[in-house]
């Protein structure tokens, strides 16, 4: 399923994107909700087990990168009876196009959910055009 993504990356092949090709097998891509309000986009990511202190959200003009390590849930169990979780670091990248202000992104982490609010530039906000 990753092959398609490689294609997409290559098509847009800028050095900035190539730089972010990290060994992705090591990471778990967190699921996301994204919605648009009148003045911002809001991205919510499910990252259970991540810690606020070790989460890294970095923003560049065209790119937001989210990383969060997860510690193993069990230390040295005598026996593992059920194992469904995948305790790897979270990693997900979002590309932004123009119209969003990457310098004013707000991020908060609560209940294992990272919420990022990405404000729109004035040029992107809906304008009402007065009828003469």
């Amino acid at each position: 399923m990753r092959k398609n993504n490689e294609g997409a990356l290559t098509r847009r092949g800028t050095s900035a994107l190539v730089r972010h090709r990290e060994p992705r097998e090591e990471y778990l891509t967190p699921v996301a909700d994204i919605f648009e309000t009148s003045d911002a986009f809001v991205v919510r990511l499910d990252m259970p087990g991540a810690k606020k202190e070790s989460l890294v959200v970095s923003a560049e003009p065209m790119l937001i990168t989210v990383k969060g390590p997860v510690e193993k849930y069990h230390t040295d169990p005598a026996r593992t009876l059920v194992s469904e979780t995948v305790t790897k670091a979270y990693y997900r990248v979002f590309n932004l196009t123009r119209g969003l202000d990457h310098t004013r992104i707000q991020a908060e982490f609560e209940d294992g959910v990272l919420t990022m609010t990405i404000p729109k530039n004035d040029e992107m906000k809906l304008k009402e055009i007065p009828i003469q």
């Binding site: 399923m1 398609n4 993504n5 997409a8 990356l9 847009r12 990471y27 778990l28 891509t29 967190p30 699921v31 996301a32 909700d33 994204i34 919605f35 648009e36 309000t37 986009f41 809001v42 919510r44 499910d46 990252m47 259970p48 087990g49 991540a50 810690k51 606020k52 849930y73 069990h74 169990p77 005598a78 026996r79 593992t80 009876l81 059920v82 194992s83 469904e84 979780t85 995948v86 790897k88 997900r92 990248v93 979002f94 590309n95 932004l96 196009t97 119209g99 969003l100 982490f109 209940d111 294992g112 959910v113």
Partner: protein, 140 residues
């Protein structure tokens, strides 16, 4: 689950998982795909421990109960719906309520079960009854 796209918005967020929206996460695990929380169960010398991933679930929306030797986790992520008047660009998170049940081993002391929810992870401690714990016998 519903997702709406318009050409304008697609170009706004171009995530590299766009082509595989719903299978784009690395969990090849039917439990999570069904919207149920992923669970680990480990056994230690003195206890069992259940760990469940419940991102976005508030303590008041979660129920942990024990009845007839069965432990049941149930809940819903109520607080994380979408606000009114917004436009949904992508919706990948599970929203349905969930229930998972576990038959408890006989050696669990059911009166001392404790549960804690933190950072979207529920930990249920199930201590073993004193008589069931492994003991070191000193050889004299």
């Amino acid at each position: 689950m519903y997702v709406r796209f318009s050409p304008l918005i697609d170009s706004m967020f171009f995530d590299r998982d766009l082509t595989d929206m719903f299978s784009g996460f690395d969990i090849s695990n039917g439990v999570l795909r069904a919207g149920l929380p992923a669970v680990d169960v480990a056994e230690h010398d003195s206890k069992y421990e259940i760990v469940a991933e419940l991102p976005g679930v508030k303590r008041e929306d979660l129920k942990v109960s024990v009845e007839d030797g069965t432990l049941t986790l149930s809940g819903e992520r109520k607080q994380y719906g979408f606000p009114e008047g917004i436009r949904v660009v992508r919706h990948e998170t599970p929203t349905r309520s969930f229930t998972r049940s576990f038959e408890l081993p006989k050696d669990v002391d059911q009166t001392r079960i404790a549960a804690e929810l933190k950072d979207g992870v529920l930990r249920v401690q199930l201590p073993k009854a004193e008589h069931a714990r492994p003991r070191q016998i000193t050889v004299t």
